[in-house]
Each structure stands twice: as structure tokens, then as C-alpha cells.
């Protein structure tokens, strides 16, 4: 079976088991001999590499352009300050002080356009690092890690996804929430697996994610983690919206405990392995052969 497919693993709230699902899916695909890439898009807190051993194959420093102002050429006209929509240029014309507050700069380049005196040039600063780890011959993990204090992980996530290319099966562990980073990850996916838990919090977040995915017209299904805890409201919601329930991962202290030790749960749980495999086959059959339009 060939076919290139991008599957995004997402959840509205954190800690529902997104990483559990994506790492185990990765493990399974690896076992089955697919060419597979796991992209850890949770750039604020990437941790997929905790579960696997791999060799760093390539690191890619993600850069942003930041203005450098030559005060000797500056006429203190204030146009760059006015053009900057992020308050990132500090200007005191009276005392001839002008400086760039790099933490605030988004690198839009407006100030360079504004400057008529030729006082602004640009330099590269690092936003974060995208690292490719070779796990086995056919599998690799790409990790997006942003630097602490960078305003938005979006550009790093973009790069990580670019790095993953289009070859083979690509699993994207997306960041939680429904804001920009989530949309950035999901927008390139062929199929989205939403991971949730059967609690009122889980349900409310699921609804939000579903609404967002609807507007993006994506195909998606739901995995319920910690099934058995909580209540049944989520099941009636799925039924009512006719959203496919892909899989239930039972609530089991041994699963939680193995996961917390950085172990792949499927290795020791043949039953769950079987259900993962069934789900995977179904997804690949339905969506796997279609060619990626992006």
C-alpha cells in the first residue's frame, strides 16, 4: 500500500492524550514497515522525542529578519516608528535615541520600507530550531522547538511541516487549542484525528475544534481517551453530529503509568495494538490513496 497522507492529531484542550496517540501511531506504522514521519508541532513544549531514540540528522535554525538601525544615518523623522504596528521601535528624537526592541519585532519589514534615509538594514535572529531525528531507516521525527519568549510558534511550525515534505505517511502532533498554531498545522492535513476525553471539559473543547474544522472543511474522526471515566454525553454528541468514533482508549492506570515512563503503550498491550491497527487501516484505505493537493 502506498499513498502519501498527512494525518494531524489534535485536541482542543491539552493533556487529552494527543502525544500518546501520535507516538503510538508512529510506532505502529514503523512496525508495519511504512515510510513515516512524525512532526512534533507543539513548538512550545515538544516532547515526542522522549519516547524514541534517534540520531540527529539535520538541524535547521529558523531565522527572522530584524531591523538594525544605523543611528548616524537616521534623521529621526519617526516614520519607521509610525509604520511599526508592534511598538517595536523605541524613539526619542529629542535625545537622538532610536533602538529596536527585538522581542517585539515580528519581522514584517515595514520599517525598512518606511525609512527614506537608508538607515535601516536587516539581520537574522533565531526564532527556534527544527530538528530531524532519524529513528530507523524508514522513519524519522521532526521536532519544532521555539525559543522561550518568541511571540508566536507559527513560522517554526510552518518550517517543520515543510521539512516533512510529502513523502510517505506524515503524522502531525499539533499544538492544543484552536488558535493560529492549531490552524497552521491542521490546514495542510488530509485527515484530522481529534483526541478528547469523556468529561464536560473534553466535550466543550471538542465542540470548538469540530466547529473550526467544519469551517475548514476537513475530514475528521474522534478518539476518546480515558474511556470509562466520566459520562456519556460525548457519545450522544458524536452520534447526533454523525462524527465517526475511531477508537476508545480505556482508562487504565497501567497505560497512564507506562506512558508517564516514556514507554510506548502498544508494545505491551496487544489488545490496544489491534484496535489501533484496525483504525489505521480504515483511515489509510479511505484517505490514503488520494493525492495531496498541497
Amino acid at each position: 500500500m502506498t499513498g502519501n497522507i498527512k494525518i494531524a492529531i489534535a485536541s482542543g484542550k491539552g493533556g487529552t492524550g494527543k502525544t500518546l496517540v501520535s507516538t503510538n501511531l508512529f510506532y505502529l506504522l514503523q512496525q508495519q514497515g511504512y515510510v513515516v514521519t512524525l512532526v512534533d508541532c507543539d513548538a512550545e513544549e515538544p516532547n515526542a522525542m522522549v519516547f524514541f531514540d534517534g540520531k540527529v540528522e539535520k538541524t535547521n535554525d529558523i531565522k527572522q529578519k530584524i531591523p538594525v538601525i544605523d543611528a548616524s544615518k537616521c534623521t529621526f523623522c519617526g516614520k519607521c516608528h509610525e509604520y511599526c504596528n508592534y511598538n517595536a521601535i523605541f524613539l526619542l528624537p529629542e535625545s537622538e535615541i532610536i533602538s529596536v526592541i527585538e522581542d517585539l519585532c515580528h519581522g514584517c519589514g515595514a520599517c525598512s520600507v518606511a525609512c527614506n534615509a537608508g538607515a535601516i538594514s536587516e539581520k537574522d535572529v533565531s526564532l527556534g530550531i527544527v530538528t530531524s531525528f532519524r529513528v530507523s531507516e524508514k522513519s524519522k521525527i521532526i521536532e519544532a522547538r521555539m525559543k522561550v519568549g518568541v511571540y508566536s510558534p507559527v513560522s517554526i511550525i510552518k518550517e517543520a511541516n515543510k521539512e516533512a515534505g510529502n513523502h510517505g505517511i506524515i503524522i502531525m502532533d499539533s499544538p492544543p487549542g484552536t488558535s493560529c498554531p492549531f490552524i497552521q498545522t491542521v490546514s495542510t492535513a488530509d485527515y484530522v484525528i481529534l483526541v478528547t476525553e469523556p468529561t464536560p471539559f473534553g466535550l466543550s473543547d471538542l465542540k470548538q475544534s469540530v466547529n473550526t474544522l467544519k469551517t475548514m472543511s476537513k475530514s475528521y474522526g474522534v478518539i476518546i481517551n480515558r474511556a470509562g471515566l466520566g459520562d456519556k454525553a460525548i457519545y450522544s454528541y458524536l452520534q447526533q453530529e454523525s462524527i465517526p468514533l475511531l477508537l476508545e482508549i480505556p482508562f487504565d492506570k497501567t497505560i497512564a503509568s507506562a506512558y508517564s515512563r516514556g514507554k510506548i503503550v502498544l508494545e505491551h498491550n496487544p489488545q490496544l495494538l489491534q484496535s489501533f491497527a484496525t483504525m489505521l487501516t480504515a483511515i489509510l484505505e479511505k484517505y490514503g490513496n488520494r493525492h495531496n493537493q498541497r
Binding site: 484542550k13 514584517c108 522561550v148 510552518k158 492544543p176
Partner: protein, 287 residues
């Protein structure tokens, strides 16, 4: 007194713990600053007393009656947010950063900036006092400003209602909204769990809080899931002089409480979780 509850990663039980803190005293102000996925309102079902529109930045739009499709804006945009689709210049909303450069350079003045105004801030009364929370519209960037708005409202309510305790349920992660949630609070409680990713995220979170010189406390939730890892977290915290305010057992009753739309304190007042939270609160507030 403002107590902010944060965690490096999601799902550590931050909201359950915030809910428990919020129901320890008869009356408090609860600020749900996890605006990306606000959910404490589900437990407490506050009255809807106030709603405020939150403007979260701007996005560019094109007036096609003026646009000549010259494509100059495509060259200038550094965010890849303007594209040529079937010979028409379009703005990709989710990529637009709102820098306004395209609007400034457009020779026809066909591009204007419009406000993102779909996010909201709410305030109301719940059974243990006042509550404020924010909801960010999908796809909108969380700048921490909405968090500020929620916190401001909470402060204002604390003053007008004469309440001395504000419980802030902060967002997960280490970005700008987290910083907004903890600046200037009296105590920060970091909730963690004994897993490899838990300890890893804890360290990144401490890196942030240590920059702010705040009184920081650690709660290890579900500590029985991995005792060795719990020991490791404890010795790490000891090594850098951070106090462990509580170690809580994993307890399905806490989830059960959530389903009943109650906090653990209300649902199972006599349990390891509830007594642990109670003791932590006493310890934190007495300092």
C-alpha cells in the same frame, strides 16, 4: 491576594485544582485566563452579567472594486499571507499577522485593516463569588491582552465586592498569555505530573517564573502514577529551593466531580485530593 495556577503542559489537572481552590473559601473571585479553552464556566455555570468585545488585532481585507491585481502586496508580505489564486489577489486570513504593510504600500489604497472582534470577555456570579473568563475566537492569536482584560475585570470585581482572594486559572505553555497571567500575582502554583514530559515542561515553566521573582509553589498531581519520577521532581525542586505545596494521589473521583459539575472540594470533601488542596492553600496563604 492573587494566586495563579499554571502548568507547562495541559491535562495535568490545572483546572480541577483551580476549581478546588475556588471553592475552599465562601467567596472568591475566579478568573479563567485559559482563554484558548476556557472551561471552568462549565463547572460553575456563572450568571451572564457582563460581556465585552475583545479586539484581538487586525487583519487586512481587499476592496475588490478598487484592486487592480497588480500584486505589489504579494512581494511585500513576509508572512506568506497574500497569494494569487486564479489571477486574483487574496489574503489568507490565518496567515495574516496584521502588520499593515500591505495597506500602506498599496498604490490603489485598496487594502484596509479590519478589527478581529469575535473574541469575548464575560463576567458573572457563581456559587462561590464572582467569576470572569475570556473566550478567544478560533484562529485568533492570543496576545495576552485578553488575559489582561480578564484579570483587570477580576481585580475590579474583587474591589467592588470586597473579596480578598483571586484565583487565576492560567493557560498552559510558556508563551505570552502565561506571562500575562502571572505578572504581578502574589503566588504562582505550578501543577505538574510525574511523567517525562511533565518534568520537562515543568523545567521550562520554572525558567519563565524565575524571571519574575514570584513566590512559586509546586503541586505534583497524580504522584502515585510514577513514584520514581515524583522523587526526581521533588529533588529537582529541592535543589532549586522551590516548595512542594502538595502531592496529590490520582483519584477517579476528581473526574467524577467534574462530570457532576462540581469541584472535588464540593463532591468529595474527605479525600486525599481535597485535604491536600486544603493544606496547600493554608500553606500558601499563610506565607
Amino acid at each position: 491576594m492573587e494566586i495563579a495556577i499554571i502548568s507547562g503542559k495541559g491535562g495535568t489537572g490545572k483546572s480541577s485544582i483551580s476549581a478546588a481552590f475556588a471553592t475552599l473559601k465562601e467567596r472568591v473571585v475566579l478568573a479563567d485566563c485559559d482563554v484558548d479553552a476556557a472551561n471552568l464556566y462549565l463547572l460553575f455555570n456563572p450568571t451572564h452579567e457582563e460581556e465585552q468585545i475583545y479586539i484581538g488585532g487586525q487583519k487586512a481585507t481587499i476592496d475588490y472594486s478598487i484592486c487592480t491585481n497588480c500584486g505589489l502586496c504579494i512581494d511585500y508580505c513576509r508572512f506568506g499571507a497574500i497569494d494569487l489564486l486564479s489571477e486574483k489577489v487574496v489574503i489568507i486570513d490565518t496567515s495574516c499577522d496584521g502588520c499593515k504593510l500591505c495597506s500602506r504600500i498599496c498604490p490603489e489604497e485598496a487594502i484596509t485593516m479590519i478589527d478581529n472582534d469575535k473574541s469575548r470577555m464575560f463576567a458573572g456570579t457563581f456559587r462561590n463569588g464572582k467569576m470572569t473568563y475570556g473566550r478567544l475566537a478560533p484562529g485568533e492569536e492570543n496576545s495576552g491582552k485578553l488575559v489582561n482584560l480578564v484579570r483587570d475585570k477580576a481585580l475590579q470585581l474583587a474591589k467592588s465586592e470586597n473579596l480578598d482572594t483571586i484565583i487565576i486559572d492560567g493557560p498552559p505553555g510558556i508563551g505570552c498569555p502565561v506571562i500575562s497571567s502571572i505578572t504581578g500575582v502574589d503566588h504562582v502554583v505550578i501543577v505538574t505530573e510525574p511523567s517525562l514530559s511533565g518534568i520537562h515542561d515543568l523545567k521550562r515553566t520554572i525558567e519563565i517564573t524565575s524571571k519574575f521573582n514570584l513566590k512559586t509553589w509546586i503541586i505534583i498531581n497524580k504522584h502515585d502514577l510514577n513514584p520514581e519520577m515524583t522523587n526526581q521532581i521533588e529533588s529537582y525542586c529541592n535543589g532549586i529551593n522551590l516548595k512542594i505545596a502538595a502531592k496529590l494521589l490520582f483519584d477517579p473521583q476528581v473526574v467524577e466531580a467534574m462530570v457532576q459539575c462540581k469541584s472535588a472540594i464540593e463532591h468529595v470533601p474527605i479525600s486525599d485530593f481535597s485535604t491536600g488542596i486544603q493544606a496547600a492553600f493554608t500553606q500558601i496563604t499563610s506565607e
